[in-house]
Symmetry: C2
Subunit: 350 residues, 2 copies
């Protein structure tokens, strides 16, 4: 088995909002569906979701047993770590801010730069990334899990004989992540008929995001573009579009070239998969580099860098009120008890 190359799964289809609008496919705002899209080759089951939850919370998937998926995408803190950039094994800092796992199932592609087409592909990356979870190879991951009898049994139960494979680790984690959706935000309740669910200020903000132009990209069930593009067709946009302003310099938005840093293609420079608005009030700090501390400032930055507009304070506040109405209900989680190894640990002092 060869080491998985995280760049192998790049979503090349940089379909942007303009294309969609020109082709008459502009999307309306819509409440969060009860179920996310599920790929045909990874159907959900209770046993698979439970196995995926175990793996998601298990720090033994990192080289020194200190970092789990949940360390940076913490389901107790809005699916993120609320840090500018995340911290992996041995105290190493990554280059980007951890996106929330909540509702990631509705995104057209994964990672800030959209280089993974699916949740399954995404899950394979951080485990092997030397500054995230730091496992040296797929083989090393499988060797470690194969020493934990409870995992071997559960993989066999869910995936059949010889079920413990790197692809199946990713499938189980992705299955669990598809349960991490946050319904019943004030916005969702409003859209379903409860006209008292949103404040006047939030309703003004809802109109503003359309009139100002934000919803050219931030639309669809996750306010991140369509969730049902063909696999590999991520919903990308250029950021920053307007570069000659103080924000771009102050927050250093040009040094990371987004999708281009993966593909090297000129047309991918500063292309990013459009991020979600759902629960955005609770996922500070903001942007791919976590450089912007507050949501107010993030709204000002976006208006200037993407639409070349300077919003008034009252417009910012109304839009922030609207964005706060997109905070949904976090699904209750029972902590897994992770499979044990009797009389020894599988983690050394790496």
């Amino acid at each position: 088995m060869k080491t998985d190359n995280p760049f192998r799964h790049v979503a090349f289809g940089a379909v942007c909002a303009v294309t969609l609008m020109l082709s008459g496919q502009a999307l309306a705002m819509e409440p969060l569906p009860a179920q996310p899209p599920v790929p045909a080759d990874n159907p959900l089951s209770a046993a698979k979701i439970e196995l995926g939850k175990m793996l998601y919370f298990d720090p033994r998937l990192s080289i020194d047993g200190t970092v789990s998926c949940n360390s940076c995408h913490n389901v107790m803190t809005n699916g993120t770590d609320n840090r500018p950039v995340s911290v992996g094994v041995k105290g190493q800092k990554g280059g980007r801010s951890a996106p929330t796992v909540f509702n990631a199932a509705f995104l057209s592609a994964q990672f800030w730069d959209g280089r993974a087409a699916t949740l399954e592909d995404q899950a394979k990356g951080p485990i092997l990334n030397p500054i995230e979870m730091g496992m040296p190879s797929e083989e090393a991951v499988l060797e470690r899990l194969s020493r934990i009898p409870g995992y071997v049994a559960r993989f066999a139960e869910v995936f059949g004989e010889n079920g413990l494979t790197y692809d199946n680790i990713a499938k189980a984690i992705a299955a669990y992540e598809r349960t991490l959706i946050t319904p019943n935000s004030p916005f969702d309740r409003y859209m379903r008929g409860d006209k008292s669910a949103m404040s006047k200020e939030a309703l003004r903000g809802m109109k503003l995001v359309e009139s100002v132009g934000c919803t050219a990209c931030h639309t669809g069930p996750n306010f991140a573009g369509p969730a049902t593009l063909p696999v590999g067709k991520g919903f990308f946009q250029k950021f920053p579009t307007f570069t000659d302003n103080e924000y771009v310099r102050k927050y250093d938005f040009m040094s990371d070239t987004g999708l281009h840093s993966v593909t090297g293609r000129e047309e991918d420079k500063h292309m990013w998969r459009v991020p979600t608005w759902r629960n955005v009030a609770l996922t500070a700090p903001y942007f791919h580099n976590g450089a912007v501390k507050t949501l107010d400032e993030a709204v000002r930055v976006m208006a200037k860098t993407q639409l070349n507009k300077d919003l008034k304070d009252d417009e910012v506040h109304a839009i922030v009120a609207f964005l706060n109405s997109l905070t949904g209900e976090i699904p209750p989680q029972t902590l897994p008890v992770l499979p044990q190894t009797a009389n020894m640990s599988v983690v050394g002092d790496q």
Copy 2:
């Protein structure tokens, strides 16, 4: 408010097993009680336990938002991290192995060196330890929590007006920890009358730990001495007692002087609070420095260093079987949803 000195709460009473035996108080093996001792000044309540659980799981109690109590005392992995020594903020390694939080409520003193008399005192230490959670002062902890409205409200609910104090943080965490007990091990079921709960091998091991002499210290509800000594009277023992053997050199047992490293008193050299046997099969690696990888080896080491005995392989295996019968049921945990800060994060890029 002055910074809490972790050395202030040292449990000076080095009562050793020999004293107890001489005074005729030798303790029998006993099943785990349904409830741990609860101090009069920190009664349990559902609201306090829930607040304590939130704090226990909240990485915002660390300087950079990466380490919670649960990071090292992980309730998903037997209340420990299964590492030789733990890793705190900025990838720093501590000098000792994380003891399990499970059944810590039954210990006579806390920390390997017993320097904290109570769970409350223990909880105050790691938050301010520069290589664990790294907060610079009690004031900094309170300032951060005071910016999280949900915490302010819950502290007021549980502890009354101005309830957000460092002492109350510790009280809430300790209250939660008193719920982390693991009943119904095979041993407990056996002791309560289910004579089929333990294997013949384990029963042989149960006799051996008495005849070999292990239960001179490892006795009481937690196999760690009496749980109900007066506060401040920790149940200590010298380790290693017999120092002229290969184990002591191989595993470097002399460089850490235990309680002496806290008090500087000659009589405290290499004195350690007797650790629990409960769930010991699942808390590898072993000893204060995590130097011993397997339970088999730990049993050999203890027989040699404490009793100057060389056990035969079959004796080791029987004792290990008995120790495995002390693995209890981990209480089901619902994950807390941590109180939020809207539109901003309280954690920076420290």
